[in-house]
């Protein structure tokens, strides 16, 4: 597991949105996303990020305090130490006050044509 310098996140909301701020957890510590732009209302796109500078044993996006949040897509750009930047796109998910969704993926394995 490489050291995560920073990550950026883009979230597309479906019909059921929620309220700002958007929180995430890093190794079970809950924090608000920084550099927030856009919104998390129905059909809106939100972007934010955070400078981590630590190893991500777990990285999650936290569900709303109440109600549901229907997410169409989550794109995460990771900037890790000694690893080329990489992105992962997660598909549809619905969050509520009891859930958070994993947004950590290890860097892709080296792949080449043979």
């Amino acid at each position: 597991m490489p050291k995560l310098n920073r990550f950026k996140i883009e979230i597309e909301t479906r019909e059921t949105g929620t309220d700002l701020p958007v929180h995430f957890t890093i190794n079970n510590h809950k924090l608000p996303l920084e550099d927030a732009q856009g919104g998390v209302g129905p059909g809106e796109t939100f972007s934010g990020g955070f400078e981590i500078g630590s190893f991500a044993h777990s990285l999650t996006l936290v569900g709303p305090k109440s109600g549901q949040w229907d997410i169409r897509k989550i794109k995460v750009d990771y900037d890790c130490e000694h690893t080329p930047p990489y992105s992962v796109v997660f598909g549809e998910v619905t969050l509520d006050e009891t859930t958070e969704v994993n947004i950590w993926q290890d860097p892709p394995l080296p792949t080449w044509d043979v």
Binding site: G53, V88, V93, T98, V101, L109
Partner: protein
């Protein structure tokens, strides 16, 4: 700002943290933020769920008329997966544990002709190869090219990939499910129960099985050893026609692993 600095500020400089939060236009001021963080109500227990990862590479490969093969060594370099844009053994999987087992199966025979190949697992359009003494990525670079070459040559020849004898001995999914469940109930689960573990058969597709490791096995640092040396061995010994065995456990979500 690094997460350590941020956390440090949260607990040592509440005024600074409040100011920073107020600077971000999109954030709503939490009434409890001006108080000590210890005064906050206990956080709601949340469970971590997984969203599907959208992969674009496979679609790109499937659209090509040429035979495309990608090599992908595992993170520990113990094995190398070859992803092909053609079916190798559609709907089924098969484990060739040695050269002798490859007899009659052109695909396996060609792969085992490559020096130092130890085992071969084929499933749908992927082949997974282990080799003797693989320790690093460099061990795979030359070998992967060689294996890719023989895979392509066999596919171009257009012959059956797997021997008819193998195909004939694969029973129905129901039989595979019953046999594997029996091994889990009588051998595997009694074995892991001592560590508070439990193995559940979650899916059978053709002769490919998927399991989930729960209790003390979920997140256990020895889970991989249990899987490969315990579960795989027990399944293959009792049910010789079982193909690929996948573990779909969310090990990061383990709450009480036996070994941390």
């Amino acid at each position: 700002m690094s997460v350590l600095k941020k956390l440090s500020q949260m607990f040592s400089e509440p005024d600074t943290q409040d100011k920073k939060a107020g600077e971000t236009a999109s954030e709503v001021q939490d009434p409890s933020s001006s108080q000590s963080p210890f005064a906050e109500p206990p956080p709601v227990g949340r469970r971590v769920i997984q969203a599907s990862v959208i992969v674009g590479q496979a679609e790109e490969m499937n659209q090509s008329d040429d035979i495309l093969i990608k090599a992908e060594p595992s993170r520990d370099n113990g094995q190398c997966k070859f992803m092909v844009n053609r079916p190798l053994f559609e709907g089924h999987s098969w484990m060739f544990s040695n050269f002798e087992e490859a007899a009659g199966s052109p695909l396996a025979e060609s792969v085992f002709s490559v020096d130092s190949v130890e085992t071969l697992l084929i499933h749908d359009s992927t082949a997974v190869v282990t080799k003797t003494g693989a320790k690093g990525l460099s061990d795979w670079e030359a070998l992967a090219k060689e294996v890719g070459g023989v895979l392509r040559k066999t596919l171009e020849a257009g012959t059956d990939m797997v021997s008819k004898d193998i195909i004939a001995q694969i029973p129905t999914e129901e039989v595979v499910r019953d046999e594997i469940q029996k091994v889990i109930d009588t051998e595997v689960n009694p074995g892991v129960a001592g560590h508070g573990g439990k193995i559940t058969l979650t899916a059978v597709t053709g002769n490919t099985v998927t399991i989930e490791m729960g209790g003390g096995c979920q997140g256990c640092s020895a889970a991989d050893l249990t899987l490969k040396q315990g579960i795989h061995s027990a399944f293959r010994k009792a049910v010789p026609y079982v193909g690929a065995i996948y573990d779909e456990t969310d090990h990061a979500g383990g709450l009480n692993p036996y070994y941390r």
